[in-house]
């Protein structure tokens, strides 16, 4: 096998490992649906009713469905670093890193697994949106496009989380940082209100927030059908993802030192 084949094969193997674990115990997948469901059912319904946020020609609940989806994927992905710390403590990570598989493939495989969880979130949230009658464009290609964007978003934030894990190194600190960065990432994005309603300093921050690009892409695909911003969204999100994956592949060695 040449190095590239090896890299792909090992990444898929690590992703397979995670997928098999989910198959044995899927409790976590289901509990992860509770929070976005509350955002849609309570926050979404209430704010749609009071019409407090101007979302143009769409109802508020239509507007936030892509945002809630991206947020729930962010929450799933950002705690991947804790899994890595846990695997380090259990000795499993040392063993993974002592195999001939390249280190980057271990990182990419785990990020892909986060992507699998993200796609499950998307399916559940779309299902919920259908049930409560949120009007979305369920075109096959658009939905597939959403899956691609969701996988990228999950890979982006799970690798960011693994970068943090390799510097913070303990579960307690990772829990803390996970809590500390998810809400700011969420609020400094266009997930639950349009960028135009933000104060200008927050708009500036959200330009550097990968989540905004994910939300924007999902919204374009499933809600507005306005694809002109899509290439930029995908390029920026992809750029962040590759950047974080690269840093994580190098920094992961730090966690076992």
């Amino acid at each position: 096998m040449n190095p590239l084949t090896r890299f792909v094969y090992s990444s898929l193997t690590v992703a397979e490992m995670e997928a098999r674990k989910i198959r044995h115990d899927s409790t976590e997948l289901w509990t992860r649906v509770v929070q976005p469901a509350l955002w849609l059912l309570i926050f979404g319904e209430v704010f749609t009713g009071i019409r407090g946020i101007n979302t143009g020609s769409f109802t508020y609940i239509q507007f936030i469905t892509p945002g809630v989806l991206a947020q729930s994927v962010l929450f799933v992905a950002i705690f991947y670093g804790i899994t890595v710390v846990w695997e380090r403590d259990a000795g499993l990570l040392s063993k993974l890193l002592s195999t001939p598989s390249p280190r980057s493939s271990i990182i990419v495989g785990k990020a892909m697994a986060a992507g699998v969880r993200g796609v499950f979130q998307a399916i559940m949230i779309f299902g919920l949106a259908l049930i409560i009658g949120v009007n979305l464009r369920f075109d096959v290609l658009d939905v597939l496009g959403v899956f691609v964007v969701i996988v990228m978003t999950a890979m982006c934030f799970s690798s960011l989380s693994m970068v943090l894990a390799s510097f913070l190194k303990t579960r307690d600190r990772m829990m803390g940082i996970g809590q500390a960065i998810t809400m700011p990432l969420f609020f400094a994005s266009n997930a639950i209100y349009p960028l135009s309603l933000m104060p200008s300093w927050l708009q500036t921050i959200s330009v550097f927030n990968p989540l905004s690009y994910g939300v924007d892409a999902v919204r374009a695909l499933i809600l507005t059908g306005e694809y002109s911003g899509l290439p930029v969204d995908v390029a920026v999100l992809g750029g962040f993802t590759v950047l974080f994956l690269t840093i994580a592949s190098i920094s992961i060695r730090g966690i076992i030192e």
Partner: protein
Amino acid sequence: MTAIEVVDLCKTYPPDLRAVDDVSFEVDDGEIFGLLGPNGAGKTTTIKMIIGLTRPSTGAIRICGLDALSSASQVRELLGYVPQAISADGDLTGYENLLIFAKLFYVQKKDRDPRIREALEEMGLTDRANDLVKHYSGGMMRRLEIAESVVSRPRVLFLDEPSIGLDPSSKRQVWKHIRRLNEELKMTVLITTHDMAEADELCDRIAIMNQGRFVASGTPEELKHGLGGDMVTVKLSGKADLPLPPDLGRSFHASEDSVDILTENGETAIPRIVAFYEQNGSHVLSMALSKPTLDDVFLKYAKVRIEEAERFAQARQVRRSFMRHAG
């Protein structure tokens, strides 16, 4: 041929901890080599440097002639590693654990299934192969980890404290399997341990490590022989620290009420030792004659019995974790 060659290996942690301090050794192809020492002696750090998990501060490492630092990924193909903590994945079945590792080691597809089956069979895990590993006993988990090595067939296998925490019969089983890997699959094995019986039972050669340094090495026989003769342990009431006349032997380790004496011929020395103490105002309560053990060897070189060293290390750990929480 040399399987492992380590030259002037050092690992320092800031500000001034020398975890591994200028260690050099060679392990021949087909040997079982033991690194012996108390917790904190630097055994695990040494292994981690050899398999590329920790970067050495200075020094050179060659595995089967390949430079472990510059050709790291090639070298990892030749290595197997069983960490000290039970590292099998509890959320997967035994079979899945082996399958994933076979893939990560790029075992060819046609060899994969037969080898996994063979490994499960050999380790007595066939009927539990489809159970989640978190329901296994500690001994079964260890055997599963050894099975991973049967599947990936490394040239050199590293086992960090392979029998720690296992009951005596699981321990013996693990030893049996390690010996099989060595004899039948021709693997060179490096184990770390602080279990003297394990080192004595398994290892062709051992090195004793203390505070980051090698303090002695050789075959278990050589090391024990190096102490010379028999060991006579005398329990006394009264003075235990009397200087012994040289023709009786030499005092090896003395505590308040007992003395270990190394002497050429234990049987003939016993009556003379009794007479010596009785004449000098001490009363002999009991005596025991034994051949030197590796524990005695360890005592000589590390200046502390291994269980005592263990206690120090634990006390240090407790203190450290206390300080972390307090600070």
